[in-house]
Symmetry: C2
Subunit: 111 residues, 2 copies
């Protein structure tokens, strides 16, 4: 997407937040990592449709934004684990109302 930044009240915050979750797979990644840390290959499988290139790119952006922590284990074969930072967990929590809204009003069978 890419949201526009304008001065004033909440919107700056929303725009800033949107820029962080802007990326086709980021919310999926956030949600997947909420459960537990995952390796690169796991994420590929758990988020069907992402290409390696894009997965790596979006993980790096999330890392840069302080949402995701990347830990490299010096093993053979190589192993890298991605996990949510505290900030990332907060973000996920902040997304819940939006998810609830969507589930309630947009999904076919809102429980």
């Amino acid at each position: 997407m890419a949201v526009t930044r304008r001065p004033g009240a909440h919107e700056c915050g929303i725009a800033a937040a949107m820029s962080v979750i802007d990326g086709k797979w980021k919310v999926s990644l956030l949600w997947t990592l909420e459960q537990r840390p995952r390796r690169f290959g796991e994420l590929r499988r758990l988020v069907p449709g992402v290409s390696e290139k894009v997965l790596a790119a979006q993980l790096r952006e999330l890392e840069t934004d302080g949402i995701v922590h990347r830990e490299v284990f010096d093993e053979v074969p190589p192993r890298v684990e991605y996990s949510l930072t505290a900030l990332g967990q907060d973000l996920n929590a902040a997304l819940e109302p939006l998810g609830d809204w969507g589930a309630k009003h947009l999904l076919p069978d809102s429980a």
Copy 2:
């Protein structure tokens, strides 16, 4: 942006919600309309940078999604007013935590 839909818990709701606010200017429009109904030309001015084409397009999408109400007054010169529906107001409310998160963690001077 265009977020991916996958089955499971909250994410569907989030994906659905994201698809509704997906569009470069939609959140700005939402926020602008929160204050009071606005005419097309007002929105052009209040949301600097949008072209007429895109403004019209995104307003229509929001209307289709039930977020925005479009009212045509049969006057000369023509007058059309856009306002938030109840659903749109709910959406805005659901976006608040996200905005707060962004303001708190991403903006330079978080009050």
